[in-house]
Symmetry: C2
Subunit: 349 residues, 2 copies
């Protein structure tokens, strides 16, 4: 029998963050095919030999890690699984066309439960004109794991990588930040109360916006459309899955630059602020915006010459600018002090 314990020289997964782990595991892989334009390292792979490129991305959601069945309706979960993958296509300035959905589930789930889940997949596919073209169903000993692969397309001259931000470019973000995480906080609070007293009826009134942000996020295809209408090709772009700080650091690393964002410019919904004040006096909405994640907003940089085209768009907020190579990524507070940004995204549990 193969020995599967690696006691000697064992390095715990928990000692690595997600990105360091991916870097280590994919080190030494090179690409050879002429149809591979961009491999590992951005929101999507870019494939194809013609002018019209194909985008491919894959995302996994794991029960008990990425979602809690206690408060996740299956229809929402199906919707979210697709939405998250479409958001990656949006982050390359592309249009999603197809998805493949792989589901590994235990027999705790009934056929009717799976139908609910697929109803959510279907709703998201219909909303974004995306075709379900394949997938796989497997059994598991326990739990539900979902992997969605999305395929999209983009013209060669519209592809937006993380790596194109230039000195003095403006940093923009769509929608608002921190609300999805605030929704999660509310759900976790109600779960604890419910577990203590199963007769308790959770009161989720007044939190509808933040709950929907967490349970049923939308890929910002409207922003991709807006950019096209305004004739803007962002110099860099990424979607906000791990929190603004983490995503800014990705752009700075890949674009070899620094950045400054202004705390007072960060778009934060009033429900986010309300949840924070309810939870603890020490919980600041700006922390949720920087580190909460799961907002699936688009973070992008544009040339200053594009400022006039976008300054009046309600859904886009200019939050800062790109600084020179070697500068840190910082947030400037209203008191004019600077705080260096650190990634607090995914870490192995």
């Amino acid at each position: 029998m193969e020995k599967l314990e690696y006691q000697e020289g064992r390095t715990e997964l928990s000692s690595f963050g997600e990105f360091a782990l991916i870097d280590r595991l994919t080190e030494g892989f090179t690409t050879h095919n002429k149809s591979t334009v961009k491999g590992v390292g951005d929101d999507c792979a870019v494939l194809g030999t013609g002018k019209n490129k194909m985008l491919v991305t894959t995302n996994t959601l794991v029960e008990g890690v990425n979602f809690d069945m206690m408060y996740t309706p299956l229809k929402h979960l199906g919707y979210k699984a697709v939405a998250v993958s479409l958001s990656n296509i949006a982050a390359m300035n592309g249009i999603p066309r197809q998805v493949l959905v792989s589901v590994a589930m235990s027999n705790r789930y009934s056929v009717e439960a799976m139908e609910e889940f697929y109803a959510g997949i279907r709703l998201c596919c219909e909303r974004y004109d995306v075709d379900l073209v394949g997938g796989d169903t497997s059994t598991t000993r326990a739990g539900l794991t979902i992997t969605v692969t999305a395929v999209g397309e983009v013209d060669e001259d519209k592809i937006t990588y993380r790596s194109g931000a230039k000195l003095h470019d403006l940093i923009c973000v769509s929608g608002d930040l921190g609300s999805a995480y605030s929704g999660l906080l509310v759900l976790e609070r109600e779960k604890v109360t419910y577990q203590a007293n199963p007769n308790f009826q959770p009161d989720l009134g007044g939190y509808d916006y933040v709950l929907e942000r967490f349970l049923k996020p939308e890929p910002r295809m409207d922003i991709v459309k807006l950019l096209k209408e305004k004739n803007i090709v962002p110099t860099s772009m990424i979607d906000v899955s791990d929190g603004l700080a983490s995503e800014l650091l990705h752009i700075c690393k890949e674009s070899q630059c620094g950045c400054e964002v202004y705390e007072e410019r960060l778009p934060i919904d009033y429900q986010t602020s309300r949840v924070c004040s309810e939870m603890s006096q020490n919980m600041l909405p700006v922390s949720n915006a920087l580190n909460g994640g799961s907002d699936y907003e688009l973070l992008f940089t544009i040339s200053q010459s594009d400022y006039e085209k976008i300054k009046d768009s309600e859904e886009v907020h200019i939050i800062g600018h790109i600084t020179e190579k070697g500068s840190p990524a910082v947030m400037v507070t209203p008191q004019n002090s600077t705080i260096e940004l650190r990634a607090q995204g995914w870490k192995q549990e």
Copy 2:
């Protein structure tokens, strides 16, 4: 809190086979994009608007269901996860170009263990000139789940679906059948002995071929190349993942035909026969060939006019022919009796 128990009208997943479940879940999904040539229902989706089409397929392997860590070296597992997806590209007569690998793992796995796994992925990628272009790593509460998406290409006029078999076409299969399942039987036998006595040293000598067939299958890209060299476009094709019987039934269903295969024509390796005779007097090698699965051979049909081109190929065996619509799928025994084929592929545990 959302009620997640569906007691009323609950239908157990176990009451459905994999294919019936997929049919039920994807019922009502329609495709709208002009780049969607073929959606759910074959080995790959076929995408693109040009003459050169893209193939996309996704496969999931779950610990404790699709593999047992007790006897699966992680390097082999990485290799197999990729190989299985490439086999689906081969089954459409295509050439694989890229893969995306999503891994969800518990912290039972060390970084070194994951490196072993990725070494296997890399070996398979290098062997088949495929680029790793993306993926995802997630945590799980327990176990390892792997989803591989493969992307390939094929000329429009070479695409081979399951649905093109015609009356009197010859049924061909590559390599041999039942050996992978025989390898699994050996591993399971040794596991039981080992569990009874952990000091026992498993003796796997003399089983090397069947073990490799199970642990490290190869996608039959050589057959795709051979067909091209011989200027043959099969009328239908599928890879043997669930067993010959199940795959023949897929072809018959999609092509609206029946078939006859001859028991004495089924290619069976002597190690397969040896394992069967060791296991039980009642275990017939032909059952492993029909129902064992995991061989990842190619099963295809060709026009009779292509017979001369392929009859001398050592790696291709002509095992029967297509019969008319409405006829059953049968195996003819050496005694000239016919046995109707039934699918014994995947069933929810």
